[in-house]
Amino acid sequence: MINQYKFEDEPELKDLFITVDDPESHITAIETFITYRVVTKTSRGEFDSSEYEVRRRYQDFVWLKSRLEEAHPTLIIPPLPEKFIMKGMVERFSDEFIETRRKALHKFLNRIAEHPTLTFNEDFKIFLTAQAWELSSHKKQGPGLFSRMGQTVRAVASSVIGGGVKDRPDMFTDINDYMETFNQKINLIDKISQRIYKEERGYYCEMKEYGPIHTLWCASEEDLVDSLKGVASCIDKCCKATENRMAGLSENLLPALHEYVLYGEILTGVLKRRDQIQADLDSKVDALSNKKTEKDLLTEEIGNLEDKVECANNALKADWDRWKQNMQHDMKTAFLNVAENNIHYYEQCLATWESFLTSQTVDLHLGEDSEDKP
């Protein structure tokens, strides 16, 4: 399954459009939960209709993710937003939390839609199209969460007990090493960016108080009213500009960084699962060299496992390349956006102070002219 899928071609080939919006609160006797509206527009033949609108809750997304991981253990399944946020500042169902989650869920579905393999996954289609009751009954079929958990447990166990997999191809060791450093750095950058957001918010709050003091001062200074009012207005405009700058961070950079923070864990899991598949093969190969009987059976099993390992490796390799390309693109876009926001911010502030300065110097010139009059 080697994929030559090029990211740049995507806009022309896109035939599946998904949006996640309109969070709604549902209160039952047992619980309170939020559902999100998922709208799908498509021209694909496999879909009976060209437009779908369904309601999904967080649990449903979790189900979808686990199904995808099961079906494609060595593909990089996009991250879901976290179940809880342990920051203490955002409450579970606050507007801010819900909006952040909604955006992340939207991103999640779109990432799947853009993935060359996952986009054709059957569970994905059902997720997008089935009515609530249909989805419930479909969920009850199939292995579901438990087998996936079993797989992961085994994978973790093997990595703890065995140390590394013997003869792991260098490529995957390299990926592993890369991810270790990458995770560290992306986490740091995430923290730094959140701190910047906090500082900017603090600055915004103080500036809001700063401007009006100048207006207050006007009350006792007849001759300085113009200058003071001018300064007050400039500060207020800069304050507004800061608000825009902050919005840019929270809408673009922060969600992007956070997604890649979550990707860290996902990639670790993918690598482990690949190792596990290889470990299964290796143990069978060992068994073959030890056993005298059942050689034919084992040989056949080994043949299958070898195919399985080759498929898994190829899938991961292709998906890894794709992931890296996406990451590069996403990071570049996110930081370019930050730079542009900052340039725009400073340009706005510059314009407002320059026009104030012009108005003040014009006044001075007028004042000087009147002095010269006889």
């Binding site: 730094i192 100048h214 001062w217 400039c234 370019l336 730079a339 102070w353």
Partner: protein
């Protein structure tokens, strides 16, 4: 940031010594627009004749009044005749060292001897409105540097004032190193100063203060309150701004480390990181410049106190006047009662005389004579106090008008300076982020 160096400020009184007090507040001068007045007005001001700078600050150790070792900062005052400059000669300046407490002594002397003048304030004794990066330590080099500038500004303001620039003690302060303190103390101004304590009570009992001074007092309270508020919030704004810039500096290090594992993105990340470092570092200079702006505002914060001092002096004079008038009125009444034998108001003498018998006509005559003398003296005193009061109001108001012009000019200029600083900061920001954007696009 430039401090006014011998700038001729618009003076609503004329500069000629001696005549200033009598002619202060004359119409045409008061109508002069704010800004630079023609040089001819300030001919006699000291600032036109000599250039004053406080050029250096030095840590010294010495012994204080209790013979304990102390560390203090001494400031070098340099004076140079202006003429020698313009003729192309660069004669070496005269110089001497003074410490802050001597400046305080000078100012207190001026306050007592020129109560009708709005005496320029000194830079703050202790660092206030400090935000976290700024040190509150008097020995901190940045604080010392800002104080040096403030002290220079103080001297130039005094030297530019048409009246107090002529004071001999001030001149000696600038030129006579040894024995200056003794000279000041010998003037006995501290004794005069005791009367200022009375002023605190005078406000509550003055019946007819000049309305303008009452308004001025309110104005100075408002000025103090609004500038304090402004400075407090400004400090908080500075703190936050510092935080925003400095946290960006962390990107530099992490981008650099990240670039090590990236092939295509590496260069872009690395160089972007460098620009983040530049961005973070740029805030230090920006905020240092803003401190000078804060100092300009602080000067007028302290000027509010100087305004209040003039108001208090007026109230004190008015109070004395009212007391004297009251005293005179009661004496006249006593005299009248004795003369006509009627008791209109309660007096102890009246009661005792009723109880213990009337006085003899001779005794009464004696008393009346004494009272008449006192009344005569009192009337003379009242006349001169009235004159004193009126003259004070006239000369004080002239200086207040002068001060108002100066304040309007200076504050307007300060606000313009602030705008200039903001513009500079914005331009730097655009530069850095444009560079960073360039790097990001190469990722």
């Amino acid at each position: 940031m430039e401090r006014p160096e011998a700038e001729p400020l618009s003076a609503s009184g004329s500069c000629q010594a001696g005549e200033a007090e009598a002619e202060a507040g004359s119409g045409p001068a008061a109508e002069e627009p704010g800004g630079r007045a023609a040089g001819t007005m300030m001919e006699d001001c000291l600032s036109k004749k000599i250039e004053i700078t406080v050029s250096e600050a030095e840590k010294r150790t010495g012994r204080n009044a209790m013979n304990m070792q102390e560390i203090y900062t001494a400031y070098l005052i340099e004076t140079r005749a202006v003429e020698s400059q313009t003729e192309g000669q660069c004669s070496p300046p005269d110089s001497l060292w003074r410490r802050y407490s001597e400046f305080e002594l000078l100012r207190n002397y001026l306050l007592v001897n020129y109560p009708h003048i709005v005496v320029p304030p000194l830079p703050e004794k202790r660092a206030e409105f400090v935000w976290h990066k700024l040190s509150a330590d008097n020995m901190d080099p940045d604080f010392v540097e800002r104080r040096r500038i403030g002290l220079e500004n103080f001297l130039i303001r005094v030297a530019s004032h048409p009246i107090i620039c002529q004071d001999k003690i001030f001149y000696s302060f600038l030129t006579q190193e040894g024995g200056w303190k003794e000279m000041v103390n010998e003037t006995g101004f501290q004794l005069k100063a005791e009367s200022r304590l009375k002023a605190l009570n005078a406000t509550f009992r003055v019946k007819n203060p000049d309305k303008r001074f009452t308004e001025l007092k309110h104005y100075s309270d408002e000025l103090q309150s609004v500038i304090s508020h402004l400075l407090r919030v400004r400090a908080r704004v500075a703190d936050r701004l510092y935080g925003v810039y400095k946290v960006h500096g962390n990107y530099g290090r992490v981008f650099s480390e990240w670039s090590a594992i990236e092939k295509e993105m590496g260069d872009g990340l690395q160089s972007a990181g460098h620009h983040m470092d530049v961005y973070a570092a740029s805030i230090d200079d920006i905020l240092e410049e803003e401190e000078h702006y804060a100092d300009q505002l602080k000067e007028y914060l302290f000027y509010a106190e100087a305004l209040r001092a003039v108001c208090r002096k007026h109230e004190l004079i008015q109070y004395d006047l009212e007391m004297a008038a009251q005293d005179l009125a009661s004496k006249k009444q006593q005299c009248e009662e004795l003369a006509t034998g009627t008791l209109r108001t309660f007096s102890l003498k009246g009661m005792t005389s009723k109880l213990f018998g009337q006085e003899s006509p001779e005794q009464r005559e004696g008393k009346i004579k004494v009272l008449e003398e006192q009344i005569h003296d009192g009337e003379e005193q009242l006349k001169s106090k009235n004159v004193e009061g009126r003259e004070f109001v006239k000369s004080a108001w002239a200086d207040i008008e002068r001060f108002k012009e100066q304040k309007n000019h200076d504050l307007k200029e300060a606000l313009i300076n602030y705008a200039v600083m903001q513009i500079s900061m914005c331009k730097k920001g655009i530069q850095v982020w444009t560079n960073a954007k360039e790097c990001f696009s190469k990722m």
